[in-house]
Subunit: 116 residues, 2 copies
DNA sequence: AATATATATACCGATATCGGCATATGTCAA
DNA sequence: TTGACATATGCCGATATCGGTATATATATT
């Protein structure tokens, strides 16, 4: 055994900042690969490769138009992430933030007490 | 240049399935490392390493109790992910799903037309 | 003080990843 | 048909990652 699966799920696909950037651009509407290359300042092969990953996890769909390929987001693939994160949503409400701060203060006091 | 930053942000921290598992366990309340080791069926060093990553991105906090170390989730570090994904939330509403299906059908028809 | 228990760190090998470059494939234009 | 343009794929080197094993560190127990 060596390493876990990688580019097989949306979590991993989206872990790469460039790919999030690509999705953010595509959120503004369909774009051809060349446009993305320009806007990202990255090599064309690199962009194509990122798009491949996004395609494989279903995060983008492609449409052929002449010799260009127009990509668009398919947000449905993000739902698993959304659902997972949503389970933790309560944890960053103000009251929980406060609770966490209090806990940290208590800890600090405790360790301050420790010194003699 | 070789590779982008990795374990520096919550997106990456959470891309690893084991770490999500750990967070899910901790969501049920504070646990010591040993407990997690048992529940995950993973080596203790591995668990400690995953916890280190989670600690470094602020996803968990530790509290010392004797020779044990009790970890708990700090959901605030998930907010960036939540916020980012939320921007795409509209895209998986029923109407958009429908739209996407229609677009795919259109494409299919188009390529069917192509054969002669 | 010596031992046991709990956790963290260091090192290793295998592999996946990312960007860069060259090239293949496919489509339009002359 | 030949050549330009658009995109995808293949190969490379550098590096990060993951699990495994051994070991260090710290705290409790005897």
């Amino acid at each position: 055994m060596a390493r876990a699966a990688t580019t097989t799920d949306p979590f991993n696909a989206v872990a790469e900042p460039r790919r999030r950037q690509i999705l953010d651009l595509l959120a503004g509407g369909e774009r051809a690969v060349g446009d993305l290359v320009e806007e990202l300042g990255l090599g064309q092969p690199q962009v194509s490769k990122h798009l491949r990953v996004l395609r494989e996890v279903g995060l983008v769909k492609a449409r052929e138009e002449g010799r260009r390929r127009l990509y668009r987001v398919d947000g449905r693939a993000l739902k698993p992430i959304h659902d997972w994160v949503k389970g933790y949503e309560a944890l960053w409400s103000e009251r929980f933030e406060l609770l966490d701060d209090v806990l940290e203060d208590l800890e600090k006091e405790r360790s301050d007490d420790t010194r003699d």
